[in-house]
């Protein structure tokens, strides 16, 4: 599934602009509605005033209701420069007392002195009508109905005027607010752009941390700090690897030199006995290089970066230990070492990478045979709960002060004198760590070294 590319800027702008436009539009509608309403109210009052004025002209004349309306009064009453006014007065019995237009029938349920406004149509013109019932001067229990209507031209003009003011005003506010939002979003995000540009142009060879962390916005600071942390770690790993490679190359030089010396000697030698002796040294040098190469490869493979390549399975630790121990039988015989296994036939099950654990066991056994006592005893053991592998010898042991340092790659104790390359324990510790196990160096009583690998304690 492909995610559509999203931009913070676009998202911020759309999320601010759409509500802004909606709010302003609603505001415009509301203010227009209000203005219109009040305009209507004012006009309606004028209409009612006209109706009330008409009512004052009603008179009772000997019990007969009459409307006293001179011609001039009617003219003045009807005069309006814009709109046309219509009026109608109906007696309680429904007889038309006065009227200058065909009005719709007044509402039936008019209460006295409660005006009623409604829209209607007179002679094809839309009009606003007020209908009011007033007590008849002739008989106070009856009401006279007065209706006054006015065409809507003034009202329509008012709407147009309001529109002419409100619409441009709203557009101006919209433009102004939109512009402010655009400016705020764009200028705030520019520091993000700047960081992106800096990261984009980062030179991976230099591994120099990004600068100006203090000036960055607090939202971006953690990002820059994380990137700087990563850069720091990468550069540390890099440095360690370079040290390791340099060390490894130096380590290879010594057996290579021996190889060259003895090969040249063998080529020059005419005495068959000494020739064979030189070749034996060649073989020794080659064996050392072979060992070293193997150790370097194992070290690389057990390193942190290759974790994803590990194939973890469940297996019986005792089986694996015995099988690996058997590989060292001949080496032990050569050094006249009594090699043995101590532990259950079926051991604890371990989840791990068998090839690496073999290397771990092999390195510990190799060390014990190599640096233990000639004619001594080397024992590999397995113990359950907590799952432990141990290898012990009865050699000179490792001084307490040396126990940390012997775990460093290429470090060899001054007295060791063996032909190892100083990687064995470093590899063992690395592999133990990969399996969540801890490697402990201790004394073997009464003498010698005991190395324990305790699982589930890392």
């Amino acid at each position: 599934m492909k995610h559509p590319e999203h931009s913070l800027r676009k998202r911020l702008l759309t999320r601010l602009w759409i509500p802004l436009i909606s709010v302003l539009f609603l505001g415009a509608l509301l203010s227009f509605g209000l203005a219109n309403h009040f305009g209507n109210v004012v006009h309606d009052r004028w209409l009612l005033d006209s109706a009330t004025t008409l009512a004052t002209q009603l008179r009772a004349d000997t019990g007969k209701l009459i409307l006293d309306l001179p011609r001039s009064a009617v003219e003045m009453f009807e005069w309006d420069s814009v709109d046309r006014i219509y009026e109608e007065v109906t007696s309680p019995s429904g007889k038309l007392l006065f009227g200058n237009a065909a009005f719709p029938k007044a509402p039936e349920d008019l209460s006295p002195n409660q005006p009623r406004y409604y829209d209607a149509d007179i002679g094809g013109n839309p009009v606003r009508v007020v209908a009011v019932a007033v007590p008849s001067p002739a008989d106070a229990s009856k009401t006279v109905t007065i209706q006054v209507a006015e065409t809507k031209k003034k009202r329509e003009a008012l709407v147009r005027e309001i529109m002419l003011v409100v619409v441009p005003l709203q557009i101006a506010i919209l433009m102004l607010a939109g512009g402010f939002i655009w400016f705020a979003v764009t200028s705030s995000l520019s520091s993000l752009d700047e960081t992106a540009t800096r990261l984009g142009g980062y030179d991976p060879d230099g591994l120099v941390p990004l600068r100006d962390v203090q000036n960055a916005p607090s939202e971006i600071k953690p990002l820059i700090s994380a990137v700087n942390g990563l850069i720091k770690r990468v550069s540390e790993v890099n440095a360690a690897q370079q040290r390791f490679v340099a060390n490894a190359a130096h380590q290879l030089r010594t057996p290579l030199a021996a190889l060259q010396v003895h090969t040249e000697r063998a080529l020059r030698e005419t005495n068959p006995e000494r020739h064979a002796e030189a070749l034996t040294h060649v073989l020794t040098a080659v064996t050392r290089m072979r060992h070293l190469t193997h150790q370097l490869l194992t070290m690389t493979r057990s390193g942190t970066s290759s974790a994803s390549m590990m194939v973890m399975t469940d297996f019986d630790l005792a089986d694996l230990a015995r099988d690996e121990l058997e590989r060292w039988a001949d080496t032990a015989i050569q050094r006249n070492v009594d090699l043995g296994y101590e532990g259950p036939e079926e051991g604890p099950t371990v989840h791990g990478e068998p090839q690496l654990l073999r290397e771990l066991i092999g390195n510990l056994v190799d060390n014990a045979i190599r640096y233990g006592r000639t004619g001594g005893e080397v024992t590999l053991g397995v113990r359950p709960s907590p799952t432990t592998i141990f290898v012990q010898d009865d050699g000179p042991g490792i001084a307490v002060t040396e126990r940390e340092r012997v775990l460093d790659p290429f470090y060899r104790t001054p007295k060791s004198g063996g032909d190892g390359c100083g990687l064995g324990l470093a590899i063992a510790r690395e592999i133990a760590a990969r399996h969540g196990a801890r490697l402990l160096i201790m004394d073997h009583v009464p003498r010698g070294t005991r190395v324990e690998v305790v699982f589930g304690s890392g």
Partner: protein, 229 residues
């Protein structure tokens, strides 16, 4: 015994050819996959030593082609890569054994011997040093002289001979000697083994049983059997 050696490194190929010749094998050396396929089409080989990194094609590909052509000669793969997945890949493609560079000549030869022997039937005479055991007639001879052993001693010896050079655990011997319902225990194995060692030593065999503490026993040449365990 004619072997085909497929190794692209000229130095290593030449060295191996000479070393194998010293041990009495005739080995034809080729350096490319195509040459190897041609050589196999032209002659019959009892065994093939194959390097995986060839200049023209992958060794595993050569192996698959061979197997698809019905060539059943045992194949030993030589390679500088020792990761598990490479090993599995090679064995899956039809290889019989696998050896990582660098290696001891002696080990290569031992593996080749084992591969060549694999074709033999289970009834073939088992030999080590100056002793020989015929599984069919269950006869043991030391320096040509027949030696009397009990059935269980012979069974132990056969087990050790069949896995000569490897350590055989006490448990393994016990399981092959006794059925489940038997109430014998592991110390019975020790009794048989020490009797067997004594008898071998008395008859002048140059083969002995070495004891590995907690691991088991290994039959080996030139190991004095009169050591106490």
């Amino acid at each position: 015994m004619r072997l085909l050696l497929i190794e692209d490194d000229l130095e290593l190929g030449h060295g191996l050819q000479s070393a194998l010749a010293q041990s009495g094998y005739v080995a034809d050396a080729v350096h490319t996959g195509q040459d190897a396929l041609n050589a196999i089409a032209a002659a019959t080989y009892q065994g093939i030593v194959l390097d995986l990194g060839l200049p023209d094609m992958d060794g595993v590909q050569v192996l698959r082609l061979l197997r698809s052509q019905g060539i059943t000669a045992p194949v030993l793969i030589l390679t500088a890569r020792d990761e598990l997945q490479h090993r599995v890949l090679g064995l899956d493609a039809g290889a019989d054994d696998y050896l990582c560079k660098p290696f001891d000549i002696a080990e290569l030869e031992a593996r080749i011997r084992a591969l060549l022997r694999r074709g033999d039937s289970a009834a073939a005479t088992l030999r080590l040093g100056n002793i020989a055991f015929e599984p069919a007639s269950r006869r043991l001879t030391v320096r040509g002289q027949e030696v009397e052993l009990t059935a269980r001693e012979l069974a132990v010896l056969e087990l050790l001979l069949r896995r000569s050079g490897r350590i055989v655990s006490k448990k393994h011997i016990f399981d092959s000697l006794y059925s489940w319902d038997n109430d014998a225990n592991l110390s019975n194995v020790e009794v048989f083994v020490s009797r067997l060692r004594r008898k071998l030593a008395n008859t002048g065999a140059d083969v002995g049983i070495r004891v590995f503490r907690g691991l088991g026993y290994r039959l080996e040449q030139g190991c004095a059997s009169d050591e106490t365990p």
